[in-house]
């Protein structure tokens, strides 16, 4: 939400326009990135040193966690993209469920969001329901789906979809509703039909908000994916690996799973940001 609202530098041509200014900005950005990585590196080093010095079984040093994660999941044959059997059996099903759940939530959220946001009346009527649905802590829904679907993939998918759909829906509705009124007049004068209005006006107008919603939904999908796999009755998945390792007091694996989840969350979010930057581009001032 915060970064899409920033109008691009190129939207204001020839203001200070000097190449020197751009170079200075680039070097400042590089310094910032360097600093961030330095902080991360120092944090990991301190963690490593402290864990080694302490020698606790509960807090293994990060080097050992990474090593263990590698052995567990990423030391497989080339033909399987280095994935081990364990990774294929547990990580891939989890990612599949998460992807399916997130995709369903995104499609449903955007479609319903546009429909709700297009009509002032529908928005006014639906808004309280939506706010309520969003306010329910998503994991609390899981027991409901356990009762309806029993344990297994349908229950897990339903949990992900019903948690992740709200942020997309609400943000899409809000974004659609805030379509510039003058552009609605323009669309009327140009006699754009319903499909053209959707593709050329409403969706592009709402796109920054849609992505804000998608990012929230993505992290909710990850949370619900793991959470729904923590329950008894699951046979595979990252969450299952976690509970399984915990029951065997295999803390190294527990830590490796946590590391994996953090890395996954980061990578997925970065991927989504890249798509967003591609689609929205720079310098969309005058968009709102």
């Amino acid at each position: 939400m915060s970064r899409v609202a920033v109008p691009g530098v190129s939207g204001v041509p020839d203001v200070s326009g000097a190449a020197g200014g751009r170079r200075a900005a680039a070097s400042a950005a590089a310094r910032g990135a360097l600093l961030r990585w330095a902080v991360l590196a120092v944090a990991v080093l301190v963690w490593e040193a402290a864990a080694r010095a302490h020698g606790s079984v509960y807090f293994p040093p990060p080097g050992r966690i990474v090593r263990h994660a590698y052995d567990l999941w990423f030391s497989g044959p080339v033909a399987h993209a280095f994935l081990t059997a364990d990774a294929v059996d547990n990580i891939l099903p989890s990612l599949g469920r998460m992807a399916a759940g997130f995709a369903l939530a995104a499609v449903a959220g955007i479609a319903l969001g546009v429909a709700v946001g297009r009509s002032r009346r529908a928005y006014a009527l639906c808004n309280p329901v939506l706010q309520f649905a969003r306010a329910v802590p998503p994991p609390a829904l899981v027991p409901v789906f356990v009762v309806i679907f029993d344990f297994g993939t349908p229950m897990q998918l339903a949990s992900i979809v019903f948690s992740a759909v709200w942020p997309v829906l609400i943000n899409t509705a809000e974004g659609t509703r805030n379509t510039e009124p003058l552009r609605l007049d323009v669309a009327a004068v140009l006699r754009l039909n319903a499909a053209e209005r959707l593709w050329l006006l409403f969706l592009p107008s709402a796109l920054p908000r849609i992505f804000a919603g998608l990012r929230l939904s993505l992290s909710l999908s990850l949370i619900l994916m793991v959470f729904s796999e923590l329950l008894p009755g699951t046979a595979d998945g990252i969450g299952y690996t976690l509970t399984d390792a915990q029951s065997r007091s295999d803390l190294l694996t527990v830590w490796a799973v946590l590391l994996l989840l953090g890395a996954l969350g980061y990578l997925l979010n970065t991927g989504l940001l890249t798509v967003e930057r591609r689609l929205i581009g720079r310098g969309r001032e005058g968009t709102r």
Binding site: L182, R183, D185, E196, G286
Partner: protein
């Protein structure tokens, strides 16, 4: 022929336009002046079919306007918000051609042709936000002209541009008007501009309930130029006449706002 018969518009119980009657013959460039808040934009929105007439009617060649009429184009003052920033300049200009069912290649060619005419042939692939204000308004004008409209409505189109750009675009508009014989209703608050551009100038009284208080044919040579025409004694006289009308509140009750407000 565009005709307004006893047109009234209300905003709540506040009259915006009252009993407006007006005929605009084909091919005329009519300038509408009046202080801000006198309902000029409401008038244009009604003619464009964006706002149904509360009382009275608007007809084009005898047919009442109920929705957006055929062959209509509109240029708004706020070019930044009227263009679609996610489309390139060419795509923006080609938008109206979708209704004509042209294949994509022809739409592109038409858009390029009209961009060339408004002096923007180099900017087709760029995006509106990469252009200056004057260039963006040229894009909006190109988008309005691409369908060869029979009626062009312009709502203070040059109001937020600098003087030089404004004069260039005024001359562009006159050139278009001469070549295409389009009927143009041009709303402005600038008295000089109205006399320079118009075949005829009408002035609306300050609101509420604006009426036509002046209807003045502009008898200036068809070929106009920024320096020469503005120096003609006729020009100065016409300008003074419009100015007097707009600045003197026509409503003796004193309800009208301060002159030029």
């Amino acid at each position: 022929m565009l005709e307004l018969r006893k047109l009234s518009q209300w905003y709540g119980d506040h009259a915006v336009l009252s009993d407006l009657t007006l005929k605009v013959p084909d091919g005329e460039l009519l300038c509408v002046v009046g202080p801000s808040g006198c309902g000029k934009s409401t008038l244009l929105r009604t003619i464009a079919g964006l706002l149904p007439a509360a009382e009275g009617e608007v007809t084009i060649d005898g047919t009442p306007v109920t929705g957006v009429p055929d062959g209509l184009a509109v240029v708004f003052q706020d070019y930044g918000r009227s263009l679609f920033p996610w489309l390139s300049v060419r795509e923006n200009v080609a938008l109206p051609l979708r209704r004509r069912g042209l294949p994509r290649a022809e739409r592109r060619a038409e858009a390029e042709r009209i961009l060339d005419r408004v002096g923007l042939s180099g900017a087709a692939r760029r995006h509106p936000w990469q252009l200056s204000g004057g260039m963006q308004q040229r894009v909006a004008i190109a988008r309005a002209l691409v369908c060869r409209p029979s009626l062009l409505l312009m709502d203070e189109p040059f109001g937020s541009l600098d003087a030089q750009t404004r004069e260039d675009l005024e001359d562009l508009l006159l050139q278009v008007h001469r070549n295409d014989d389009t009927t143009i209703v041009f709303v402005t608050h600038d008295i000089d501009e109205s006399v320079y551009l118009g075949d005829r100038v009408i002035a609306l009284s300050p609101g509420p309930g604006s009426r036509v208080v002046l209807d003045l044919p502009v008898r200036l040579p068809g070929e106009r130029d920024q320096i020469g025409t503005r120096g003609l004694p006729e020009f100065v006289e016409l300008r003074a006449e419009v100015g007097r009308t707009v600045r003197t509140p026509a409503d003796p009750s004193g309800l009208s706002g301060p002159p030029g407000a």
